[in-house]
Amino acid sequence: MIDESVVVGTLSEALRTGGEFAEVFVEDRRSSSALLDDGKVEELTSGRTRGAGIRVVVGETTGFAHTSDLSENGLAKAARAAAAAARGGGGGHRVAALDRVDAPAPNEIEVFPETVAKGTKVELLGRADEAARAAGSAISQVSARYADGRRRILVANSDGLLAGDDQVRTRFAVSCVAVGDTGMQTGFESVGRPIGFELFDEYEVDALARTAANRALTKLAAQPAPSGSMPVVIGPGGGGVLFHEACGHGLEADLVAKQASVFRNRVGEQVAHPEVTLIDDGTMAREWGAYAIDDEGRPAQRNVLIEKGVLTDYMWDLLRARKEGRESSGNGRRQSYQHLPMVRMTNTYLANGTEDPQDIIAATDRGVYVAHLGGGQVNTATGDFVFGMSEAYLIVNGEIGPPIREGNLIGNGPDVLAGIEALGNDFAMGSPGTCGKDGQGVPVGDGTPTLRVASMTIGGTAA
């Protein structure tokens, strides 16, 4: 993307006024998307961004500047701006000879999206629209979006690291509105993988559209969600986002260091049922949060966070790890070259259990079965979280009963971990997600088997 000699020159410029550590992150991103709404292909959009972010570290201070000018001069100017922002170092630090080390990609890319004709992408949208509308006459509106992106990055730092990655992601989503006597309801379904157009060899867009449509249709007959505390069974793949939010964020070393995590000082403690194992794995082939290297040039890793109920470790980025005299866990990520990296998750999941999922439901006298959770958020300092239930049912006498309308699920991360009382043997990954932290979004994956939590609060309107 840029010459190695230019990279070395930029790093030297960045260290000239006394910095201890310097890094150049170069990104070239192309994206394309197509949106069908209201029966029409509204537009195709193409995007192109490229630029570099440069950081310089002196003591506890990081100076950061970014530029869209990738010429030698443009980079030098940004390097000086970053260096000026981090002043007062002792100096004498030099750029080590760069040693290019490329990590293996989590998977191959078969069909790069830019090689596929635009008409072929648009055709998928029409098929989804037709299939969703055919699912029922109550379907009144359909929107479908195709999106692909290719992000090439290059990272170099004054320790001599030089690494690159070529990340491709393809995604397809369908959203439907159904109208009935009770008003309007919505249904949504999406798939996404860090692969190219071969995504559609694996998934039929017609089937995705039917799933979205059926979710909306089902909810037309739904009754108001109950309110109050009760047992909650979460279906396979439907609840990984809960553990991402309620546990994962609290295990990010930057939040832990700032006392903003309920899991601070708890490594080695039993925090969950002995059957509970929580893993963050950036190497998972074909999963949405996977990559070869993170945005600091560190190869992705499989990190076990909770093993058999015992908290084993946090997730780390470069700066936080350096302070502790350890290695990064490959979790340093950023939204784009315009952002500083921080500790982020990749694919976070609760490992498979042993029970038959039917037995878990049958053993629940009264409660809620959540097939699909929507978005949510957590306060990492207190562990309190909130999630929307986008597809849920009542459990009556050990059987899945009538659907319920949307409501929120609230609880506390450590309490939920401690409250997991059954884990099924039907592990599945969930839908592709975007995780937001401090204003930056990055792609993440999640997964769980069927599981039951002894008690959570359902925020519905029924008495």
Binding site: G47, R48, T49, Q185, S227, T382, T461
Partner: protein, 448 residues
């Protein structure tokens, strides 16, 4: 870059238009500084310039779009070519078309303040450090300040079209934010405070710090109450978040596409008589005030709900044309997307009584001071909502113990009808809606 230079670039792109083709170029440029301090040291100092262009092409009744994060001349040509190519694959729609000058004069707003440009980096750092110290010193139970930030942006943008639109402008803005941690026994709670302005002199360190301290300490000792149906008083910050969602249902796009719960309700009484809702980006008090919308048309004051009666929806050029009316100057966008429709500066008309008097009249209720998961808990199509909440119990007209781990649920439709009173404490916030205390009856509070 100044607005004139950006307009020149936009005009150059538009000049490349061919016969029978409409072209719109939106060009933006921003310079940002952000200082974050932690434990008396600068944790990070970021300085950055960013720019970009978005180009929309309409030809043969089809629309295409492309954007790029640089203004290099070769990239401009490439982006236009890409947008043209994209237009080939869109569906034809007779209502596609760019905005046309409509004679409405843009309001005279003072959004650019030179004082910000003269504020030194040292002074920015000092202000962030002062904020951190003020939070730390605010209460003995404050055990940490997760982050204290100063940030500012100097922005400029321009729009030109082949239909005769020429619009450009610039603005300055700056902010302080602090995230605090309070602890008592083995319980920890968090809070935040902020202050925003057009220039640093208007930032209030003491107010931002006091809010961060109060929000973190007020929930210490909070417990989960039982489930019941209560009257709630929404604090201004919470009301503003709900207004943002209600505003979304007033979008002409949502109405046209059958996604608004208020479609077919024009002229109906959709809210209590105490509710008058206005979107007015020409109001200089609004932090999101703007003289032109995302298509370069002058912004204007739009009355949406008048004493409970639904009066109008918001439109951009496309939705206005398709609905048989005109744009209300409500196109919203950045340079990397085509224009949507949205509220820009939404507010309720304030009532006569301050929050203390509102609370004094409630025998059994909850003052909701914070909501979480609102974006995931509200379905703006069906109107169902359920959100995590925390706040203080109201007993016999007085504020009582703190409560947490509750949700409040209703539907947007019912909530608007169940409004009992609007407070007098209107306050503009750094979002597209203003805050005011709001009393709502018959809300389900789920707890233990």
């Amino acid at each position: 870059m100044n607005p004139e230079e950006l307009l020149e670039i936009a005009e150059r792109v538009v000049g490349w238009g061919r016969d029978g083709e409409q072209i719109e170029a939106v060009v933006g440029h921003g310079r940002e500084t952000e200082v974050r301090v932690y434990e008396g040291e600068i944790e990070s100092l970021s300085v950055a310039e960013s720019q970009g262009v978005g180009i929309r092409v309409i030809a043969d009744g089809r629309q295409g779009f492309a954007h790029a994060g640089t203004l290099d001349p070769d990239v401009l040509e490439e982006t236009l070519a890409e947008a043209r190519d994209n237009a080939v694959f869109g569906s034809p729609d007779e209502f596609f078309g760019l905005a046309e000058p409509d004679g409405v004069a843009p309001p005279d707003l003072d959004l650019y303040n030179e004082a910000l440009l003269k504020f030194s980096t040292e002074a920015k750092i000092d202000m962030a450090l002062e904020l951190e110290r003020a939070v730390q010193a605010g209460d003995p139970r404050i055990v940490g300040v997760e982050s204290a930030d100063y940030g500012d942006v100097v922005g400029a943008d321009a729009i030109a079209t082949t239909t005769g639109i020429r619009s450009s402008g610039r603005d300055t803005s700056c902010y302080l934010t602090a995230y605090s941690l309070a602890s008592e026994g083995d319980e920890t709670q968090t809070g935040f405070g902020f202050s925003v302005g057009r220039e640093p002199g208007s930032l209030d360190v003491a107010e931002a710090a006091a809010d961060a301290v109060e929000r973190a300490t007020r929930m210490l000792g909070a417990t989960q109450p039982p489930t019941e149906r209560v009257t709630v008083v929404l604090d201004p910050f919470v009301t503003a978040q709900f207004l943002g969602i209600i505003g979304g249902t007033m979008s002409g796009e949502a109405v046209l596409k059958g996604r608004s719960l208020f479609a077919d309700r024009l002229g109906d009484q959709v809210a209590a008589a105490s509710v008058t809702l206005v979107d007015d980006p020409t109001n200089p008090e609004a932090f999101t005030a703007s003289d032109a919308d995302g298509e370069g048309l002058a912004t204007r004051r739009n009355l949406l709900i008048d004493r409970g009666e639904l009066k109008r929806f918001l439109h951009n050029s496309y939705t206005g044309r398709r609905s048989g009316t005109a744009s209300t100057g409500s196109a919203v966008r950045g340079y990397s997307s085509t224009p949507g429709v949205g509220c820009q500066a939404l507010s309720l008309e304030p009532g006569d009584r301050p929050p203390a008097e509102l609370i004094a009249g409630i025998a059994n209720g909850v003052l909701v001071q914070g909501v979480s998961g609102l974006h995931s808990g509200v379905n703006p199509v069906s109107g169902d909502f359920s959100t995590g909440a925390e706040g203080l119990r109201i007993r016999n007209g007085e504020l009582a113990e703190p409560i947490r781990e509750i949700t409040i649920a209703s539907t947007l439709q019912r909530m608007l009808l169940d409004v009992v009173e609007v407070g007098s404490d209107l306050t503009w916030l750094p979002m597209s809606s203003a805050g005011v205390s709001l009393v709502v009856a018959e809300v389900t509070m789920s707890g233990a």
